[in-house]
Each structure stands twice: as C-alpha cells, then as structure tokens.
C-alpha cells in the first residue's frame, strides 16, 4: 500500500517536513537538524523503493488526483529519473548530515529557517525530476530557484550581490523556459511530456516549435551554468555558506542537465534535436569552451572553493558535451557523469566545509601542514581530486572513458583531445593543492626527522563531517567500479533507442 504511493511520498515527505520545521524549531532549535535528517532519510528510502519498482516493473506513471494524463498532472518515473531521485535524496541527506557544525558555526541563530529552506530546496529538486508535466516542472524549478537564492544570499560578505545577480539571470532562465512551455502549448494544446512527444513530430517544421525549443535550451542552459551563461555561478557558489554550496553545487547543475536531456530526448525526438537545428553542434562547442575555460579559470584561483566552482563549470561542460555528441556512448557518458560528478562535487565541497570549519581558511597557500592537522580530510581530498582528474578506478575515469569513446565514435577528434587535455589541466590543479597541503619544503640535503620543525597536533573535523565525506569517497570508488552495472541496469534504458 505504502509502496504504491512511494512516488508521491518522495516529494511530500520533505515538503511536509519543511512546513513543520519552524514548529520543531519553536520547541527545540537543536531538533531541527535531526528532523531534517529524518525526513531526508525517509525520502531516500522511498526513492530507493521507487527505483526498485522501476527496475522490476518498468516505468511508473502516477496520476495525481487520479486525473488521467493530459488533463491532470502525472509523475513519470523511468530509469533516468529513478536514478536522479536516489542521487538527489542521497546527496542531500549526506549534506544535511555534514551540516550540523558548519551551520551552527556560519549562521548562528538562523539554523531553523536555514533548515526549512534547505528542505524546500530538496523538495524543489525532487519535484523537477519526478514530474511528467512541463508546467509543473516550471513551478518546482521556481521553488528550487527561490530556495537557492536564499541559501546563497546568507553567505559571506559579497553573497547578497552574488545572489541578486543569480536571481536576475535565474529568472531570465526560468522565464525563457516558461515561454518555451507557452509556445509548445500554443501549437499542441498539451502540457504533458509524453503527450507532447506524440503530438510534436507532425509539427517539426513549424517555426513556433523551433522558437520553443531554442527558448527551452537557453533557459535550461542558464540554470545549468553552461558557458557562456555561467556568469552567475562562480560568485554565488563561492560566497554561499558551506552547507548551501555543498547542496547546490552538486545538484542544481545536474538537475538542470537532467531537464535538458528530458527536453532533447523525451519531449522532442532525438532526430529533431539533431537534424532540424544545429543544436548539438552549438552545444558541443559551448561545452568544449566551458571545459577549457573552466579549467583555465580554475588555475588562476587562489581560493580552494573558488577553484572548485570553476571546475564545476568545466564539469558541466562534460555533461553538455556528452549530450551534444548525440550518440550512444556520448550520452551514456553524460548521464554517468551526472551521477559521478554529483558525487565528486559533493565530496569536494563537503571537504571545503570541513576545512573552513577547522582550519578557518580556504586559501590554498595557507594549507601547509594541513595533512598533519586533518589527515583524513586531506586523504579524501586527494581521492576526490584524482577522480576529477580521471585516474582509474575512481568514477571520474569511467565517465571520461565513455565521453571520449563517444567523441571517437563521432569522429570528433577535437572533442576527444579537449577531454584528454582537460584531465591534464585538472591534474595541474589538484597536484598544486596537494603540494601545498602535503609537502613541507625543506633545505637541500637536510634529512628531515619527524619531530623537526613545527609540532602540529591533529585536529580532525568532527565525525558528523567525516562520515558524509567518506560516504562520498566510497561513492567515488563504487560508482567507478560498478559503472558497468549502473549502465546496464539504469542508464542504457535512458538512452534513446534510435542511437
């Protein structure tokens, strides 16, 4: 019985819990943390249950209010969004778990409302991913965006301005999306994705459809922070509090990427996206520039978090490139990278949170002796860094494998070379950090002894931070080693059959 309702529960639980959070906060402020954890745990459980159902019975369609699809709103959960749901709930659970000390530390007196907005943010993400209706998607996109603006704005000094810019561009993106919905509705009369997919092929020659598609893509690209529409992202995510950026950075861009894949391959037929418009070419080139520009900009940063944010821009490029390649391996790589990158970015941002909490710095040059102070955290940083570089058997390697395979299949040598080159750029980035954190430059020929120089006591981050970080590290390895399994059970169904 309750399993039947699991799709709705994934959304409803965080939503109801968000409503109740201020009340919980009235009773005891400290309870909010556990309350949020509990609700996200429940949501995670239900999304895993739902994924199990999808795996055994195929696509689930859940009619809200029991109105049949084109008239009412439905949830459609296939393999792709079942995976996304588990990803979103799982990651937000881990981020919430991590946030206990950092929220109290960075936002004293605001924990109750922070957690309320945090849950609403998660609700927004889940709503976007689970729905089968284009307008409903817009509504949840706005919930996620509004919560995101707030989560960014409570950060450090420049955060409100960064958030304001995010609002302006984010609203442009959302409005463009809404315009796209309007144009589609105008010529089809439907808002349901599957219904649209059936109605649209006859209308592909229509200029209205063309405009709709273009607006969809631009709108989503803004949310996804695809170059050159990424300008809002670096400031916003750098200046946001640790807990916010750890939630937003891995998920917001990935959810937007999911929407892009839905639009291109579910609502529109792949052939439209590929043939009627030079979308794939534009997308791939934008992605290539994003990959290179992101990595180069990251090189110029002295702040670890800012460096990660630019790496995120570059990672979004990978996802877009896979979509733009528009072949089986490329798209597989792209979807796999959504999963892997979310895991890597979460781990990295959580690590930054732990470093900020304990060492009170984000400047890479100040990281000396950090490997003695926080050996476990720094170990995780090394592993996550290796994954971003793409060293097997971490997960970053496998998504790169498929992406490069896709580029080679498509005979796009430049893209393949750029992908390879970016690994090297990432290697420079991370080994620079590792050098600062691990090496203690000493005089020539001096045989250092352990007790030489400054005595550094170990001051490791609290367990609530280390556990999620190491869950992320485990994810990095597991997603890597089991990438074949993930593809054969989930991702291969998400790739359109015509590829």
């Amino acid at each position: 019985m309750i399993v039947e309702q699991s799709p709705a529960l994934i959304v409803v639980i965080p939503l109801i819990c968000a409503l109740a959070t201020p009340i919980v906060g009235l009773v005891r402020k400290e309870w909010c943390y556990y309350w949020v954890l509990l609700s996200l745990l429940a949501a995670t459980v239900f999304s895993i249950v739902t994924m199990g159902r999808v795996l055994s019975d195929g696509t689930i369609r859940y009619f809200l209010g029991n109105w049949d699809p084109p008239y009412g709103i439905e949830y459609v959960i296939d393999h792709l969004n079942a995976m996304m749901l588990v990803l979103i709930t799982g990651i937000s659970f881990l981020v919430a778990f991590h946030s206990k000390e950092s929220v109290a530390d960075e936002m004293p007196g605001r924990t109750v409302f922070f957690y309320t907005v945090f849950l609403l943010q998660v609700t927004g993400f889940i709503g976007i991913v689970i729905t089968g209706d284009v307008f409903n998607l817009y509504v949840f996109l706005e919930i996620a965006s509004l919560a995101g603006y707030a989560l960014v704005a409570i950060g450090e000094d420049g955060a409100p301005l960064a958030s304001f810019r995010y609002i302006i561009l984010g609203t442009v993106g959302a409005c463009f999306y809404l315009l796209g919905v309007g144009y589609l509705y105008m010529v089809t009369g439907s808002l349901n994705m599957l219904d649209l997919a059936q109605l649209l092929p006859e209308l592909y020659h229509s200029k209205v459809i063309l405009v709709a598609f273009a607006f969809f893509m631009v709108g989503v690209a803004v949310k996804m922070a695809l170059f050159p529409l990424h300008v809002w992202l670096p400031d916003a995510y750098t200046k946001a509090p640790s807990a916010s950026s750890a939630l937003l950075a891995p998920l917001m861009t990935k959810v937007a990427a999911y929407v892009m894949i839905r639009i291109m391959f579910t609502i529109f037929e792949p052939c439209f996206s590929m043939e009627m418009l030079p979308v794939t070419a534009v997308l791939s080139w934008a992605a290539v520039i994003a990959i290179v520009a992101g990595a180069v900009m990251a090189l110029a940063q002295r702040d670890l978090k800012r460096m990660l944010v630019y790496i995120l821009v570059s990672e979004v490029g990978y996802i877009a490139l896979g979509v733009g390649l528009a072949n089986r391996n490329g798209l597989t790589g792209s979807i796999l990278h959504i999963l892997n990158d979310a895991c890597m970015m979460m781990t990295l941002f959580l690590i930054v949170g732990a470093i900020v909490y304990k060492a009170r710095t984000r400047t890479i040059a100040d990281f000396r002796f950090l490997h003695r102070k926080m050996p476990l955290t720094m170990g995780a940083l090394v592993i996550a860094g290796l994954s971003v570089i793409g060293i097997p058997p971490t997960c970053g390697f496998f998504s790169k494998w498929y992406l490069i395979l896709g580029a080679v299949d498509a005979k796009q040598w430049i893209f393949a070379v750029v992908l390879l080159l970016s690994s090297l750029l990432n290697a420079v980035l991370f080994f620079r950090v590792i050098e600062y954190a691990y090496l203690e430059p000493r005089a020539e020929d001096a045989h250092g002894h352990d007790d030489e120089g400054v005595i550094i006591r170990m001051e490791e981050a609290p367990v609530t931070m280390l556990l999620p970080i190491y869950a992320g590290v485990a994810g990095i390895f597991l997603f890597g080693i089991y990438s074949g399994e993930i593809i054969s059970t989930l991702i291969q169904y998400a790739v359109p059959t015509c590829f």
Binding site: G72, G109, F113, L120, I143, L146, M186, G189, K207
Partner: protein
Amino acid sequence: MKFLSLVVTVITGAFLVYGTIDMPAWGDADSPASRHVSPRYIEKTEIETATPNIVTSVLADYRGYDTLGETTVIFTAGMACILLLRRRKRS
C-alpha cells in the same frame, strides 16, 4: 555593455517575431490550444467537479498539484525572507 545588452535584446525580440509567423491566428476558436485538452475542462467540469467556475476547477482539482506547488513557492519565499532579513537578537 549597454550596447551588448541591446543587441541581445533585439536578437531575442527578432527571434520571437520570427516565431510569430507560424502561430495560429489570434482568437481562433479552432486553434490547437483550444482543441486538445481544454475542451474537456469546459464540457466535463460540472459533472466531474461540480464547479461552475472552470478556472477554479482546473486550479484546485484537475491541476491541483500545481497549486500545491504554488503555495509552496509562497512558503519558500516567506521562509527565505525571514531567513535573510531577520536580525539577530542581542543576547
């Protein structure tokens, strides 16, 4: 910068004008938008929801879930404002 903004705006506008060419005529009762889903709301609303105001019945019943989202948006905005503007009590 201003010039660039103007160019972007004009391009967007021009693109929208381009899209307008293929649009169904304004006020056409036979346009796809009026033919596909919406007739059911008009024809069946009374039987199915017993509400003469069709907008209400769609808002609160057929697409009630959107409205749930809508109220959540308001709630989110409220919480966001409190989160952002609340000044810490001196204690």
